[in-house]
C-alpha cells in the first residue's frame, strides 16, 4: 500500500529526475500556485518538490510558509511574502523576490497549513539546507537526516551528493544516504550491504542503533549477518572510545587536582607545613579573576575576552603576597610543630572565608568564560570541551614552569637546599627565613593560579577552596610528599581512577571508594607512591 509519504517521495523523485535546472525554474510559478491555491495533496507535493528543486527562492518561500507569512493578494492573486512594517505588511513577490509595496492584512489571504503539512514542511526545510552555501548548515542537515532515516529524502540527498565538493560533508551525506537505504523497503541487497559498511565506518552510538535495527528487522539472511557483524565491530570500537573518553575525563579531573595540589606539594612537601588555608588561596585567586573581570567590563569592555589572561599574574601576586604575609606573621613561629600549624592555618581559612563572605556576599559570583574557552569539538568519538582542554594545558604549563624554577634557578636551588638540610644551608650563607617566605609565597601564588582556572569550571563562592583541600591533601600524600613528579602522577591517577569508578558506582560512591583506597594505600606505603629516601625524611 502506498502511503501519502511514499507518494510524495515518488513525486519528488520524478521532479528531480525529469526536470533539471532551467526546466524547474520555469516551473516555479506552477509549484507556487499549487502551494497557494491547490488542495491538501497538491500542497504537500508542492512543498516536497520545492524543497528538492534547488531553486534559490525555495527557501524564503517555505520559511515564510512555516512562519505564516506567505499570503495571496486578494486583488491580483499574486503570491507574496509579508513582513510586518508598522501597522501594515511590507510585501515581497514570492517568485521574483522583488518588493511589491505594502498592504493591510485585510487585503491578503494567508496560506494556511495544518499539522500534517507542517511535518512535511519541516522535512522539506531540512532537505533544503542540504543545498545551503553555509557548510555548517549542510553538516547539520546531514546529521538530522541521518538520524531521521527517512527514505523519502533519498532523492534530495542524491542531488546534494552530486553537488557537494567538500570531502568531509560528502562523507556525512553518504552516511545519511546509507541510513535511508537501510530504512527503505525497496533498496536492493547490494545497496543495503554497501550501506551497512558505510554506517559501520561511521561507528558511533547512532550507527550502532541503526545496525541493531537493521539486524533485527531485515528479512534477508546475508543482510542480517552483515548488520550483526557490523554492529559487533561498532560495539567494540565504541567500547574503546568509551574507555578513551573516560581517560580524558580522568585527565581533565586530574589536571584540576594537580593545579589545586601542586602549591600544596610545595608548602607541605618541601617545607613540612600543613597549610589548611591552601584552599582559601585558591578561592582568593578565583575572586581576583572575578574582580579583574568586573573592572575590565566597566572600563575596557573590548578587552573582556582577555580578562582571564590579565587575571593570571594578578591572582599569582595577590595569593602569593598573602602567602608571604601569612608565613611572616604566623607560620614562621610554628616551624617544627606541624600539628599546631594545621590548627592555626585552619583558623586562618575560617577568617579568610568569612572576610570574602563579608566583602563579596555569600552567593556565587559569576565569572564568564571567554569565547575561546567555550564550546566543544570532536576528536574521533571523543567529546572535548575547549575549557577543559585549556585547563589541562595550563596545568601542565604550570607544572613545567615550577619544575624549571626548582631545577634551574638560584631560588630553586636555595629552596631545595633548605628543604634537604636547613642548618647546612644556613651555614652556607643562604638566608633561610627569606627562602621560607618565598617558598610559601610561591606555593600560595600557584594556588592563586589554580583559582583562575577553577573560576572557569566551578562556582566562585567563599566555599570554593574547602571543596578542594581534602582532595589536594590526598593527591600530595598519595603521590609522595616532597616529590612534585609524584604529585603529577598522583593527581592523574586519582583523576582517572575516579572517572572509571563513576559509571559503575556513581559519583559519590566513587569518591568514597577513592578515599578508602587512599586510606588503605597509605597503610601500605606511608610515604606515598614516590617516597623520598634518606635520613632527612624522618
Amino acid at each position: 500500500m502506498l502511503s501519502k509519504r511514499s507518494l510524495a517521495a515518488l513525486f519528488s523523485l520524478l521532479v528531480s529526475v525529469l526536470f533539471a535546472g532551467v526546466a524547474l525554474a520555469a516551473d516555479l510559478p506552477g509549484l507556487v500556485s499549487n502551494l497557494t491555491t491547490g488542495g491538501l495533496g497538491d500542497r504537500e507535493a508542492a512543498i516536497t518538490a520545492l524543497a528538492v528543486s534547488g531553486e534559490e527562492r525555495a527557501a524564503p518561500i517555505l520559511e515564510a510558509l512555516a512562519a505564516g507569512q506567505l499570503y495571496v493578494r486578494t486583488a491580483d492573486k499574486l503570491a507574496v511574502i509579508g513582513m510586518p512594517a508598522g501597522n501594515d505588511l511590507a510585501l515581497t513577490d514570492a517568485i521574483s523576490g522583488k518588493p511589491a509595496g505594502t498592504a493591510t492584512e485585510s487585503d491578503l489571504d494567508r496560506v494556511r497549513i495544518n499539522n500534517r503539512l507542517r511535518g512535511t514542511l519541516d522535512d522539506a526545510l531540512g532537505t533544503l539546507t542540504l543545498m545551503s552555501r553555509d557548510p555548517r548548515m549542510r553538516r547539520n542537515a546531514a546529521d538530522s537526516l541521518f538520524k531521521r532515516r527517512d527514505p523519502a529524502s533519498l532523492p534530495a540527498i542524491d542531488k546534494a551528493l552530486a553537488a557537494e565538493k567538500d570531502a568531509g560533508i560528502k562523507r556525512l551525506f553518504n552516511e545519511a544516504r546509507a541510513s535511508m537505504i537501510l530504512a527503505s523497503a525497496d533498496a536492493s541487497k547490494e545497496q543495503k550491504l554497501e550501506a551497512i559498511a558505510t554506517v559501520r565506518d561511521r561507528g558511533d552510538g547512532d550507527a550502532l542503533g541503526m545496525l541493531d535495527n537493521a539486524a533485527s528487522a531485515s528479512t534477508d539472511a546475508d543482510v542480517k549477518a552483515a548488520a550483526t557483524a557490523a554492529a559487533g565491530t561498532v560495539r567494540s570500537t565504541l567500547a574503546i572510545w568509551g574507555a578513551a573518553q573516560n581517560v580524558w575525563y580522568g585527565i581533565s579531573l586530574g589536571s584540576v587536582l594537580l593545579l589545586a595540589a601542586i602549591g600544596l606539594a610545595i608548602t607541605f612537601g618541601t617545607m613540612g607545613v600543613i597549610n589548611m588555608a591552601h584552599g582559601e588561596m585558591v578561592m582568593l585567586g578565583a575572586y581576583t579573576t572575578f574582580v579583574v573581570q568586573q573592572t575590565i567590563r566597566a572600563y575596557a569592555p573590548d578587552l573582556a575576552e582577555g580578562s582571564v589572561i590579565v587575571a593570571l599574574p594578578l591572582a599569582f601576586l595577590v595569593s602569593g603576597a598573602i602567602g608571604v604575609l601569612i608565613e611572616r606573621t604566623i607560620i614562621r613561629f610554628l616551624y617544627g610543630r606541624p600539628l599546631d600549624t594545621l590548627l592555626a592555618t585552619w583558623g586562618l581559612s575560617l577568617v579568610l572565608q568569612q572576610a570574602v563572605r563579608s566583602i563579596f556576599g555569600p552567593t556565587n559570583r559569576e565569572v564568564a568564560s571567554p569565547s575561546w574557552m567555550s564550546g566543544t569539538f570532536q576528536l574521533g568519538q571523543l567529546n572535548i570541551t575547549y575549557g577543559r582542554l585549556w585547563i589541562v594545558v595550563f596545568a601542565l604549563l604550570v607544572f613545567a614552569a615550577l619544575m624549571l624554577l626548582l631545577r634551574r634557578t638560584p631560588l630553586g636551588l636555595y629552596m631545595r637546599a633548605v628543604t634537604q638540610n636547613r642548618p647546612m644551608a644556613s651555614a652556607m650563607g643562604i638566608r633561610t627565613p627569606r627562602v621560607d617566605a618565598l617558598t610559601f609565597g610561591l606555593g600560595s601564588g600557584i594556588a592563586g593560579l589554580a583559582g583562575v582556572a577553577l573560576s572557569q569550571i566551578d562556582n566562585v563562592s567563599p566555599n570554593l577552596g574547602q571543596g578542594y583541600i581534602i582532595d589536594s591533601f590526598m593527591v600530595v600524600v598519595f603521590g609522595g610528599v616532597g616529590n612534585l613528579f609524584g604529585t603529577l602522577v598522583g593527581a592523574t591517577a586519582l583523576g582517572i581512577i575516579n572517572k572509571f569508578l563513576e559509571p559503575y558506582a556513581g559519583a559519590v560512591l566513587g569518591k568514597i571508594l577513592v578515599l578508602v583506597f587512599i586510606i588503605l594505600f597509605i597503610q601500605r606505603r606511608p610515604r606515598g607512591l614516590f617516597a623520598l629516601k634518606g635520613r632527612s625524611v624522618e
Binding site: 585552619w346 583558623g347 586562618l348 572565608q353 563579608s358 581534602i470 568514597i512 587512599i518 586510606i519 597509605i522
Partner: protein
C-alpha cells in the same frame, strides 16, 4: 573497691573536677524541675538543653584530648565517632516512633516509606530494642576505630599523615551518609523523635534525666581517663607521645598502647554522641563534616591539651562563645573562631590550663628568691 581504685588513682584537680561536674550536673536539672519559674534560681528548659549539649561536647573534647594530649595522635575524625554513636541512638529513637509517624507505618520509619523501601534493611534489625542499641553505640565507633587504628598504627602512620587519613575517613563517611541509598535518612538525617525508653523526649523530666546522664557520663570518663593517665600505663602512653621510637627500642609494643587509647576514646565519643542526639532532637550527616572534628580539637587546645580538666573547660568556653556570638553577631563568629585557632596556637600553646600554671609559677618564684 573499683571506685576506690579510681578515686585514689586520680589527681587532686581531676577529683575536684569530677565532683564539680556531678554537682552541677545534678543541680541544673533539679533547679529546672523544682524551682518556680519566677525564682531567680530557675533554670529554663533552653538553658538546660544547652548545658546538656555542652556536657556532651565536653565528653567529646575529653576523648580527643586522651588521644592527642596524652598519646600524640591528632585525630581529625573524632566527630565521626561522635556521629556514629548519635546515629545508633537515632536509629533506636526512630524505631520507637512506630505508627505515630506521618505515614503511620508500624515497621518502616517515615523516610523509608517516602523513599519506597519495601522492608527494613538488615542493619536496622534489633534497633527497636534499647538493649541492642546501647551496646551498638559503643561497638560501632569502637570497631571503626579498631580497624583504622589497627592498620594505621601497625604500618606506623604517624603525625600529620594520621591526621589526614582520619580526616579522609570522616569525609568519606560524610559523603556516604549523605546518600539516600545508605538507608540512614540521607541528607535530612533523622528527627521527630518521640520516646526514649517509654518516656517522651520532650517531657521536662526526661530532659532533666538526659542532662544528668550526660554529666554522669562526663564524670565517669574523667575518672576513667584520670585513672589511666595516672597509672603506669599512662606513663608509658605519655612516653610514646614524646619519644615513640625510643619506646619501641625499649621493647614496648607501641601499637598496642595507641590502639587501646584510640578505641577507648572512640567509644567515649560514641556515647557522648548518643547522649547528644535525644537532647538536640536531630542527627544528620553534617555531624561528620571535617570542620566539626577540627572544632573539637580547638576546644582541647583552648582548654589545654595534656590535662584532663582543660578540654572540659575549653569545650564550655568555646561553645558558650559560639552560642552567644552566632546569636548576637553572626558575622563575627567565624572571625572569632579563626582568631581563636591562631591565637591559641601562637600565644597559648598550653591553653587556659597553661595560663593557670604560668600564674602559679609566677607567684611561686618571688617566694623562692626571697627565701634564698
Amino acid at each position: 573497691m573499683i571506685t576506690r581504685f579510681f578515686w585514689h588513682g586520680l589527681d587532686r584537680y581531676v577529683r575536684v573536677m569530677v565532683a564539680v561536674v556531678l554537682i552541677i550536673g545534678l543541680a541544673m536539672p533539679l533547679l529546672n524541675l523544682l524551682m518556680p519559674q519566677s525564682s531567680p534560681l530557675y533554670v529554663s528548659a533552653y538553658t538546660l538543653q544547652l548545658f546538656g549539649k555542652y556536657l556532651c561536647y565536653a565528653s567529646l573534647a575529653l576523648a580527643v584530648d586522651l588521644v592527642w594530649g596524652f598519646c600524640g595522635i591528632l585525630s581529625l575524625g573524632h566527630a565521626a565517632f561522635f556521629a556514629l554513636g548519635g546515629y545508633c541512638m537515632g536509629m533506636y529513637l526512630l524505631r520507637q516512633i512506630g505508627t505515630r509517624g506521618v505515614y503511620g507505618n508500624p515497621l518502616l520509619p517515615d523516610f523509608m516509606v517516602f523513599l519506597g523501601y519495601k522492608e527494613l534493611p538488615w542493619f536496622w534489625h534489633g534497633f527497636d530494642s534499647f538493649w541492642f542499641a546501647a551496646p551498638m553505640i559503643v561497638i560501632v565507633p569502637s570497631v571503626l576505630a579498631l580497624a583504622l587504628g589497627w592498620f594505621a598504627f601497625r604500618s606506623r602512620v604517624t603525625g600529620v599523615y594520621l591526621s589526614i587519613i582520619t580526616q579522609a575517613m570522616t569525609f568519606a563517611l560524610l559523603l556516604a551518609f549523605f546518600r539516600n541509598d545508605m538507608g540512614l535518612g540521607g541528607n535530612n538525617g533523622m528527627t521527630d523523635f518521640k520516646d526514649i525508653l517509654g518516656f517522651s523526649v520532650q517531657a521536662p523530666g526526661t530532659r532533666a534525666v538526659l542532662c544528668f546522664a550526660s554529666a554522669l557520663a562526663l564524670a565517669i570518663f574523667l575518672a576513667i581517663s584520670g585513672a589511666i593517665v595516672g597509672s603506669r600505663f599512662g606513663k608509658a602512653l605519655t612516653a610514646v607521645r614524646d619519644a615513640e621510637s625510643r619506646m619501641r627500642f625499649l621493647g614496648y609494643r607501641v601499637e598496642g598502647y595507641k590502639l587501646f587509647v584510640f578505641v577507648l576514646s572512640a567509644a567515649m565519643a560514641g556515647i557522648a554522641g548518643a547522649l547528644y542526639v535525644p537532647q538536640v532532637g536531630i542527627i544528620n550527616p553534617g555531624e561528620f563534616s571535617p570542620g566539626n572534628s577540627i572544632e573539637a580539637v580547638l576546644w582541647v587546645a583552648v582548654g589545654g591539651r595534656g590535662t584532663l580538666i582543660g578540654p572540659v573547660i575549653g569545650a564550655f568556653i568555646v561553645n558558650f562563645a559560639k552560642t552567644y556570638l552566632t546569636g548576637a553577631l553572626p558575622e563575627v563568629w567565624l572571625f572569632a573562631l579563626g582568631a581563636l585557632f591562631i591565637g591559641v596556637t601562637l600565644f597559648m600553646p598550653k591553653g587556659v590550663m597553661g595560663l593557670w600554671a604560668q600564674y602559679k609559677a609566677r607567684r611561686a618564684r618571688p617566694k623562692r628568691t626571697a627565701a634564698a
